[in-house]
Symmetry: C2
Subunit: 232 residues, 2 copies
Amino acid sequence: MSTTKDKILNAAERLFADHGFSETSLRMITASAEVNLASVNYHFGSKKTLIQAVFDRFMGRFTNELSVEMDRLTAISDVLTVRSVLETLVRPLTLLEQLRPHGAGVFMNLLGRAYAETQGHMRRFALEHYSDVLHRFTDLLHKASPHLHQQEMFWRLHFMLGSFIFTLAGHRALKEISESDFKQTVSIEQIINRLVPFMSAAFSHDAVNQDNIADCNLQNKPTTQSAGDVRS
Amino acid sequence: MSTTKDKILNAAERLFADHGFSETSLRMITASAEVNLASVNYHFGSKKTLIQAVFDRFMGRFTNELSVEMDRLTAISDVLTVRSVLETLVRPLTLLEQLRPHGAGVFMNLLGRAYAETQGHMRRFALEHYSDVLHRFTDLLHKASPHLHQQEMFWRLHFMLGSFIFTLAGHRALKEISESDFKQTVSIEQIINRLVPFMSAAFSHDAVNQDNIADCNLQNKPTTQSAGDVRS
DNA sequence: TGTACATCAGTGAACGCGCGTTCACTGATGTAC
DNA sequence: TGTACATCAGTGAACGCGCGTTCACTGATGTAC
């Protein structure tokens, strides 16, 4: 049937990647998609729900691929390593990148916004709609590093998420610097392939419990009163 | 003399932390600072230069403290470890946090924006104005891990930067999740103290050269043609 | 088969709003002669 | 000491612009009787 909806989604995706969300107007999108200005509100209701629709489409594609990779991993081996779990992310991300220009970058951008939102609507939406796949991933990671307790897992996951989002969403700036400094092009795939071993090492490092945190706090700043902040 | 300029800077800082830059209007800032709307343009010229001024003030405070910490580090020990270098970041960041509410968060937010900019004006500005301190820091890191070649250093630095920016700038969302999941409050200081050992481990992991990257790519995706993308 | 009505995709023009910025102006303080 | 002028901080009101959204409308297709 109608392709107007898809034209809008595709144009929005492309423009969001180039200019961000609030810097992309509906007029830019509809002009680029060659559709009527009012059709965005007709099909999506509002700009906000358009952004969510773009995000949802990415999440769907990404989580589908991630499922496939996790099936493959659990089928071939019964010993999980952090590295092998993190490697399930590689293909889903590179596939997004192949699907359309800057695909992985836009997705990570949207993911970043989802987290940055004050109210967290998108984050909640994603966690509800895709909780199966997401929990499965964190379960695998937990099985690969069973000595980590929940809180430490939580933070390490988000430290990792930060690196992924920052380097992939902002990879155009980094690409630019890298190419002017090293005279060498750089692809999303190369970044991911550097990031995975980096993060595997970080994830696998010896558990640091709260006491150790208090210790290194003291060690760093002997006269501080802030060590008292750390709960046991 | 006049405190109008400072009132504006302080109010802007606070509001930027809560709502981001483009979602914070000059009317919000001047209302909060209890000054005239036109005085922003009188003192700063434009909204853009106001943002830069807020950023610059943070950069100044941060790099000053970082210098002190690096002096201290190089004075007391002649054997540098990655961990000890990364620990120079702790005090400068926590001091920003003490200076005003969410100080470190706003600073990381601004840093994130500086990188996200399409044209990279702020990034260039910061790298020019504070290149001394910044280069000194990367030099120390390089001395602590001399086996890493330049490019690998570059990427690891930015992976780390991503984690710092994401978790500290968006720490309100994470705080919220953490507190609802674990019924436990969390401070910026605690996050930093988890992040430093995590990143030290990641930074210290064995160098992975381009061949290895190609290998793990192949291992992950045996039929791919993309291994050819990797330059030698 | 024909008529009446409903649904749906899409459109063109306008609406009201909030935005950053500008401008003519005031009043206080400093400086030259 | 007095006068004329310059500089500076700050102000109130308005400007033009681009934004997301709305609304009355068209025309095509589907459905009921």
